[in-house]
C-alpha cells in the first residue's frame, strides 16, 4: 500500500465547510503551553495522520477538539458549525490504556456504548442498537467474541473493540488516539482495512500515529505537530525530510529513524 494508492491528491478542492477545522487553538496545562496557535483544516474523505515527537501535544490536540481539556483560546468547527452543535458527527477512539480492562462488561457491551448518545437519557440499549453494535463488531472481525468479558481480550482485540465502538456511533469524523500502538500485525491490518473503508464511504479520520515508517503507507494526509503545526497537507507534499527535521528538531535518534523511514517510503 502506498500513498498513491489512495488516488490523486487535489489540495485545491477544499469544500467551504471542511469536516474539521481548527482555528487559533491554544491549550495550556498549568501555564505550560502544550499546543500553541494551532490552525488546521482536514478536508473531507481523508485519512490524516498526526505525527510528532513525544510531548508534542498529539493526544491533546484530539482532546481539545472534543472539549475534553479546557482550551485557552481557539475554536473547533465541524462542517462549518461549532463542535458542540455537531458533536454526534464526531467519534473518538481513546488510547487503549485509558480504561480499566478488568471492568465487568462484555465486548458487545462496550461496543454498544457507541449508541448510548443516540439512545438518550434513561433508555436502555434496545435490539436495534444491539444489532448495530454487533454489525460494528463483525466489521472488526470480533463477532465471535461478543459475549466475552473484556479482560479476556488481547491488546489488539481491545483496540479493535474500541474501533467497533466508534463505528457503532455512525459518525462522519473519527478521531483516533494511537490505534496502532502495541497491536499485533493482524490487528494493524484490520484497522487499516477499516480506515480505508471509512474513507471510501466519505468519512474523515484524524489518527495520532507514532510509527513514521508506515505514515506514507497508511495516510493520504499528514499533520506534523510539535506544539505548533509544523506542516500539514497531503502526505506526498508534506512528509519531507525538511519538515521532519523541523518537527523532531534535536531528537537525533528519532530523526535518524524518521529520515530512514522517509527514504524507505520514497523508495
Amino acid at each position: 500500500m502506498r500513498g498513491a494508492d489512495f488516488g490523486p491528491e487535489e489540495r485545491a478542492e477544499h469544500s467551504l465547510e471542511a469536516p474539521l477545522s481548527i482555528h487559533d487553538l491554544t491549550v495550556a496545562y498549568q501555564r505550560k503551553p502544550v499546543l500553541w496557535d494551532v490552525d488546521l483544516e482536514i478536508p473531507e474523505g481523508r485519512l490524516a495522520g498526526v505525527v510528532g515527537p513525544n510531548g508534542a501535544g498529539k493526544s491533546t490536540l484530539l482532546k481539545a477538539c472534543l472539549d475534553l481539556v479546557p482550551r485557552a483560546s481557539g475554536e473547533v468547527m465541524v462542517y462549518g458549525r461549532p463542535y458542540r452543535a455537531e458533536r454526534q458527527r464526531v467519534s473518538y477512539v481513546p488510547q487503549r490504556e485509558s480504561v480499566d480492562w478488568d471492568f465487568p462488561v462484555t465486548v458487545l457491551d462496550v461496543v454498544a456504548m457507541g449508541t448510548y448518545a443516540e439512545l438518550g437519557w434513561l433508555r436502555p440499549v434496545n435490539r436495534r442498537m444491539r444489532e448495530r453494535a454487533m454489525e460494528a463488531l463483525e466489521k472488526v472481525r470480533l463477532g465471535d467474541l461478543a459475549d466475552r468479558q473484556i479482560s479476556e481480550l488481547s491488546g489488539g482485540q481491545q483496540q479493535r473493540t474500541f474501533l467497533a465502538r466508534a463505528l457503532a456511533q455512525k459518525a462522519d469524523i473519527y478521531l483516533m488516539d494511537e490505534p496502532f500502538a502495541a497491536v499485533d500485525a493482524a490487528t494493524e491490518r484490520a484497522i487499516v482495512e477499516i480506515l480505508k473503508d471509512l474513507r471510501n464511504a466519505g468519512k474523515t479520520c484524524l489518527v495520532v500515529h507514532h510509527d513514521l515508517s508506515t505514515v506514507t503507507q497508511y495516510f493520504d494526509h499528514v499533520v506534523l505537530l510539535n506544539m505548533r503545526v509544523v506542516a500539514a497537507g497531503a502526505t506526498a507534499d508534506c512528509f519531507t525530510e525538511e519538515n521532519l527535521r523541523r518537527t523532531y528538531g534535536g531528537q537525533l535518534t528519532v530523526f535518524a529513524e524518521a529520515a530512514n523511514a522517509l527514504r524507505k517510503g520514497v523508495r
Binding site: P104, V105, Y116, R123, D144, Q149, A185
Partner: protein, 477 residues
C-alpha cells in the same frame, strides 16, 4: 492474554455458582438455627414491631448501599465515600447549633440529616476543587477533606457540649449509630431514601456504566460527566445520610465498599454484580439485625459489618470468577496443559527425527524425551502419568512410553500448531528465527483452535493442502 478464553471448561457454570452461594446461606442459616430459641420464629416472621423496623431498615440500607457502592467501586471512588461520610459530621453539628440558636430543641431529625447531606456534598465539592490545584492527586484531596471535615465536626461537638440549654445528648450516636432504637420516623426517611436510590441507580444504569468505564469517551459523546458524577455522589450521600441513623458514619463506608467487592468475586457482568452486591448488602443487613435480635448483648450495627466481612472473605476464597481458589485452579490447569503439550511435542519431534515423521512404532525411551527438554525425570514421569490417565499414552514401563493412536494424532496437531505459529512470527513479525521458540511456546498454548485456523489461512503457500500435515520446523532442531 486472557486465561478465561483459554479455559472455557474451567468456567464454572452458573448453576454451580448459585449452588455455592446457596450453600453459604444454608451454612449461615444453620449457624443461626444453632442459636435456636423460642423467639426464633418471632424474629424470622418479624412479629415484633422493633425487630421488624430494624431488620427491614438494615436490609433496605444494605441493598441500596450495595448497589450504589458497586458504581463507586468501579469508578475507583470508594475512598470518596469514606471522605463523604466523615464530612457529614460538621453538618450535623452545625444544623444542631442552628436549631438551638433559633430556639428549637435541636434534635429534629430532618434538619440534622439535611445538614449532614449538605456538608457531605460540600466535602465532595471540596475534593473536586482541591484536585484542580496543581500537583494534587485525588487521594490527597480526599485525605485532606476527610480529616479536616471530621476534625471540624468533632471540634463542633466539643463546642456544643458547652452550650447552655441544649440537650446535646444523642449527636454522638451519629458516629456509631444506634441501630436497635430505630423508630417509625427513621424508617420512613430510610425507605424513602433507599427506595429512591435503588430506582435512580437502576434508571441511570446505562449512564453510570459508561461514566465508570470510560469517562473521556462518555464526555466525547456528549454525556455531562461532571453532572453524572455529582448524581452518583449524591446517591452515595443519600445512602450515607440514611445510614447515619442505623449504622453510623464510620460503619456505613463498610456497607458501601464490602458488598460490591464481594460481588465482584462472583461475576464479570455489571448488572449481575449490581444485583449480587445489593443481595449481599441486604443479606448482611438482614442477618446482622436478626442475629442481634436473637442473641442478647449484640449491637446490630457492628454485627452487620461483621456479617458483610464474612461474605467478603467467603467470596474472596471461593468466588467463582476471581476467587483465590478458582485462580489457583485455573493456573494449575494451564500449567498441566502446557506440560502435556510439551510432552506431546517432544514425543513427536523424537519420532519425526527417527523416521521422517512416518514411524509406525510410536515408542520412545525416557532418555530420548529427557534429552529434548530441561525437565527432571520425576517431573517427566508425573506428566506422563497424567497423559496415561488421559489415554494419550497406551503403555509405559521402565524403558519408555508408547503413544496411543489418539496421542499420536494429538501430538501431530500440537506440533503443527506450534510450527504454524513460529512461521507466522517469522513471516510477519520481524523476529529473528532463533528467538522464536520460547515465544511460540508461550502463545501457542493460549491461542486456541480458532486463531490457529486463521493462521493456517494466512499461510497458504507454506501449508500443503489436504490433510493437516505438519510443516517442517523452520529452524534446526
Amino acid at each position: 492474554m486472557g486465561t478465561g478464553a483459554v479455559l472455557p471448561e474451567m468456567r464454572v457454570r452458573r448453576q454451580t455458582r448459585f449452588a455455592a452461594v446457596g450453600l453459604f446461606l444454608l451454612l449461615t442459616g444453620t449457624g443461626v438455627l444453632i442459636a435456636l430459641e423460642e423467639n426464633l420464629l418471632k424474629v424470622f416472621l418479624l412479629r415484633n414491631y422493633n425487630t421488624r423496623l430494624v431488620v427491614l431498615s438494615t436490609t433496605l440500607l444494605g441493598i441500596s448501599s450495595g448497589m450504589v457502592g458497586s458504581f463507586l467501586l468501579l469508578r475507583r471512588r470508594s475512598l470518596m465515600g469514606d471522605a463523604l461520610s466523615h464530612a457529614t459530621l460538621p453538618g450535623i453539628a452545625l444544623a444542631f447549633m442552628g436549631l438551638v440558636a433559633l430556639g428549637g430543641v435541636g434534635k429534629e431529625l430532618g434538619w440534622l440529616l439535611g445538614g449532614a447531606a449538605l456538608s457531605g456534598l460540600l466535602g465532595v465539592v471540596a475534593v473536586t476543587l482541591i484536585c484542580r490545584l496543581p500537583r494534587m492527586k485525588e487521594d490527597t484531596a480526599m485525605g485532606i477533606v476527610l480529616s479536616v471535615f471530621y476534625g471540624a465536626g468533632v471540634a463542633l461537638l466539643g463546642l456544643i457540649q458547652e452550650m447552655p440549654g441544649a440537650g446535646a445528648a444523642g449527636l454522638e450516636t451519629f458516629i456509631y449509630g444506634k441501630t436497635a432504637s430505630l423508630v417509625g420516623s427513621d424508617f420512613q426517611i430510610l425507605w424513602l431514601i433507599t427506595g429512591g436510590v435503588v430506582l435512580v441507580s437502576a434508571a441511570f444504569y446505562k449512564e453510570f456504566k459508561i461514566l465508570c468505564f470510560d469517562e473521556a469517551f462518555a464526555a466525547s459523546t456528549g454525556w455531562p460527566v461532571r453532572r453524572l458524577d455529582l448524581l452518583l455522589l449524591g446517591l452515595v450521600t443519600a445512602v450515607t445520610v440514611a445510614g447515619l441513623q442505623a449504622v453510623g458514619l464510620i460503619l456505613i463506608i463498610a456497607l458501601l465498599v464490602i458488598p460490591p467487592a464481594a460481588a465482584r468475586m462472583w461475576t464479570s457482568r455489571l448488572y449481575r454484580m449490581l444485583i449480587l452486591s445489593g443481595l449481599i448488602g441486604g443479606m448482611s443487613g438482614w442477618i446482622g439485625a436478626t442475629l442481634s435480635a436473637l442473641l442478647s448483648k449484640l449491637p446490630a450495627g457492628a454485627v452487620i459489618v461483621l456479617v458483610a466481612s464474612g461474605f467478603f472473605l467467603f467470596s474472596l476464597f471461593l468466588g467463582t470468577e476471581r476467587g483465590i481458589l478458582v485462580r489457583l485452579l485455573r493456573h494449575l490447569s494451564l500449567k498441566r496443559r502446557v506440560e502435556r503439550q510439551n510432552l506431546l511435542r517432544a514425543f513427536y519431534e523424537v519420532l519425526e527425527q527417527r523416521a521422517g515423521g512416518r514411524s509406525p512404532e510410536a515408542f520412545v525411551s525416557w532418555q530420548e524425551l529427557l534429552a529434548r527438554r530441561s525437565w527432571s525425570p520425576r517431573l517427566l514421569y508425573r506428566i506422563a502419568r497424567r497423559a496415561l490417565e488421559a489415554e494419550l499414552i497406551e503403555e509405559m514401563d521402565r524403558s519408555g512410553l508408547l503413544l496411543s493412536p489418539e496421542g499420536l494424532a494429538a501430538a501431530a496437531k500440537v506440533t503443527r500448531n506450534h510450527r504454524l505459529w513460529e512461521l507466522y512470527l517469522i513471516e510477519h513479525a520481524d523476529i529473528a528465527p532463533n528467538h522464536v521458540d520460547r515465544d511460540a511456546d508461550f502463545v501457542e498454548h493460549v491461542l486456541g483452535e480458532r486463531l490457529t485456523r486463521h493462521l493456517e489461512q494466512s499461510l497458504p503457500d507454506i501449508l500443503r493442502t489436504g490433510a493437516p500435515a505438519v510443516p517442517g520446523s523452520p529452524h534446526g532442531l
